[in-house]
């Protein structure tokens, strides 16, 4: 399915901007433009050609090229369902800011400044996104080492004298911020204009991880808000540039740890498309089934914690009971409960064990009843309605401007679902509905998620029925030169052993090119952009995180609301810090 800008549209752009350079590929189509005309072109794309949805912005570092950094804008046309990438070299290490066109660009431009040191002309408050003020380096530059510069003496407090450390231990460490540094970071974000600046987080049970909120408050009402991220910034994108494609699969789990399988599938699909690997039919159905189980699992965690934040402890215990069942199913199939590195390039790691389908079909038979139970408690509950209805209304304009995806977009009535727009795996063969909201408030987002769980159950049922007939099929296409052989093959044939060695040591030598592909995570569109230079590891891997963009709208929605509403609003946006910070 062609999802990139059509030839005709590019011709029409060429008529207006004769200097552009088109780069057309199967998986990525970009337009290169000079810096002076960038804003003009983006405005033309947004207003004339209807590419009004902001998907992503990121930079790429080419140390040997002048100018050194290249910015890439990804836009989406919601009517024609087409994407376009606009590239622009950052002359004098700066680019014009596009926050007047798309509000969602604010954070990604901050991120580009933080990671690459690219400045943005016209950005209102260009501060560091993940690291703290006073940090000296820009870590995603190619000349910065993965380990950082270890210049602080920070020995282990547990190590006694004369003792051998248990692991490869270096008493020198990368610099830690001081409390003054953190205070400076906080002050740079928000200027006190009203009565008090309230800190919420970063280590607060209600913030769903380690998000740090700053509220400038007048009485109980929030007037201004900013969010400090980076309390879980582990440098995943930097790691990806240093390891092979297969080695990166476990890191995708640890990004969005609540929906590990969905992240894996999104990543592996991208790599497979880049390498030209086709997984067997059975693997596709297993992936779809596991993805949907994980979606139920993820939404259950959301429901439990959301209700817990609003004071309904019972739901938390109920949903965790069901979650344990799904975790057991995943553990039985993949071997690990939470961060199950189950998906492999070219298929899945293991075949379904005996009885797995029976357990799953029992679960999906029981589950709708349990879901009904939760709905009986919550949906028409007076307290629930009072706290949810008409809070945090997101309009369609906001969705396009902020690049909101997933449930947040669908609750506002935008039918943006990657499973339908660009179906991967077996999603084009299963039958499911996409629930949409009308108002776009917290209550709609609750209803849409509940309905999505019901749809997921239906998809799992279809997958189970299909997989019952595929009992003896192949689950990984090891005949492909890019796919790691199974353990059995390695032990029994020398060719497989050599192939295994080569792939593990040198990596999958991917063909040169670019690709952007995304998957529908429970948290929104999780996209992977891979720039390959023909090596065993990606030259640049960008993760377009759904939660990162969804969280951004929080700062706008909270204005004029109370702190008690902040808890509800944050819960309904459902961010995961591992994915926002990466």
């Amino acid at each position: 399915m062609q999802l990139w800008i059509s030839q005709g549209e590019v011709e029409s752009i060429k008529g207006k901007f004769p200097d552009i350079l088109e780069e057309r590929g199967d998986n990525f189509t970009s337009i290169l433009i000079n810096k002076k005309q960038l804003i003009e072109l983006l405005t033309y794309l947004k207003e004339q050609l209807n590419y009004k949805m902001f998907i992503d912005f990121f930079c790429i570092d080419y140390p040997l090229h002048t100018p050194r950094f290249q910015g890439v804008y990804l836009l989406f046309n919601p009517e024609k369902k087409r994407r376009v990438a606009v590239k622009c070299w950052a002359e004098d290490n700066s680019l014009p800011s596009v926050i007047n066109l798309w509000k969602g660009a604010k954070w990604s431009e901050r991120e580009a400044w933080d990671m690459f040191g690219v400045r943005f002309e016209g950005h209102k408050n260009l501060v560091r996104m993940f690291l703290w003020e006073g940090y000296q380096y820009h870590p995603l530059r190619k000349d910065f080492p993965l380990e950082g510069y270890k210049d602080t003496y920070l020995p282990s407090l547990n190590l006694k004298e004369g003792e051998t450390p248990a692991h490869n231990y270096d008493p020198y460490h990368t610099p830690l911020p001081s409390m003054e540094d953190l205070e400076r970071t906080e002050k740079a974000r928000i200027k006190k204009k009203n009565q008090i600046v309230l800190n919420w987080g970063p280590l607060h049970p209600g913030t769903h991880g380690t998000i740090w909120f700053l509220f400038d408050m007048e009485g109980e009402v929030v007037q201004e808000c900013d969010i400090i991220l980076g309390q879980l910034h582990r440098g995943v994108e930097k790691i990806a540039e240093n390891i092979t494609y297969t080695q990166f699969i476990p890191y995708t789990d640890r990004m969005d740890y609540i929906s590990a399988l969905c992240s894996q599938v999104a990543y592996v699909n991208t790599v497979e498309k880049l390498l030209g690997v086709e997984p067997p039919e059975k693997a596709k159905w297993i992936r779809t089934m596991m993805c949907e189980l994980q979606r139920i699992n993820s939404h259950l965690l959301w429901l439990g914690t959301y209700a817990l934040d609003l004071g309904a402890l019972t739901i938390f215990l109920y949903t965790f009971r069901e979650r344990e069942k799904i975790m057991d199913i995943i553990e039985g199939i993949a071997g690990i409960r939470l961060n199950s590195t189950y998906i492999r390039i070219g298929g899945v790691a293991k075949d379904l064990p005996e009885g797995a389908l029976d357990v799953i079909s029992h679960f999906v038979k029981d589950f709708p009843e349990k879901l009904k139970e939760y709905e009986t408690i919550l949906t028409k509950n007076r307290v629930w309605l009072k706290r949810n209805v008409n809070l945090g209304v997101i309009t369609e304009e906001d969705v396009y401007s902020y690049g909101l995806t997933g449930v947040v977009a669908r609750a506002s009535g935008v039918p943006y679902d990657i499973r339908a727009i660009q179906p991967t795996d077996a999603y084009d063969k299963v039958d499911f509905e996409i629930p949409l909201g009308k108002v776009g408030d917290c209550y709609d987002r609750y209803l849409v998620r509940i309905e999505e769980m019901k749809q997921s159950v239906e998809i799992v049922k279809q997958c189970v029925n299909k997989l019952k007939d595929m009992k003896d099929d192949k689950y990984i296409s090891t005949e492909n030169p890019y796919v790691l052989p199974t353990l059995e093959e390695v032990f029994n044939s020398i060719e497989a052993m050599v192939k295994d060695f080569n792939l593990r040591i040198y990596g999958e030598q991917a063909p040169e090119g670019e690709i952007y592909l995304s998957g529908e995570n429970p948290r929104g569109e999780l996209g992977f952009y891979i720039n390959s230079k023909g090596e065993g590891k990606p030259y640049r891997l960008r993760i377009r995180s759904g939660a990162f963009y969804n969280l951004q709208v929080f700062t706008e929605l909270i204005k004029g609301k109370t702190v008690a509403d902040a808890v509800v609003l944050l819960g309904s946006l459902d961010p995961v810090v591992g994915e926002t910070d990466r």
Binding site: P145, P155, S156, T164, L203, R234, F320
Partner: protein, 179 residues
Amino acid sequence: MAIKHNNGIILTTVEEVLSWGRRNSLWPASVGLACCAIEMMHTAASRFDTDRLGIIFRGSPRQSDVLIVAGTVVNKVAPMLKLIYDQMPDPKWVISMGGCASAGGPFPTYATLQGVDRIIPVDVYVPGCPPTPQALLWGILELQKKIKAKKEGKVWEEIPIKEVPTASQPIKTKSPFGF
């Protein structure tokens, strides 16, 4: 602790009673950092139910005596985590949950703290990525044993590093047949 003649009289020392009370009502501060926090929530939720061991998660560090460091500690959050540790009243203990908190785990990067023991002293390390709820429960029980041993004036024998069994080096037991 000694029971005299089964008459309902228990003889003990103040130290022992305090230790008994402390180890059976460990209140952890609910600080979740990353993936391990989800497994920590599972440990506290319906199936594993730590409430039955007297473990109740508290929202404030001032009310808690155990800090479960659940997840990756990055450089930026390290001073704040230390602040939370400093705010906890004595006596206090730290459980380092998972590979990231113990030694940086799979993230040997510029942004990650390579082991939480560089900023706060750790009592029990729980291995795993993430550890299962059972593993965390093991860690908590191990901490209870440690508290007990310390109050009784005994030296708590930690498992020597060389004897920790791994997949590649399992502990060799002597065969009864002599080979």
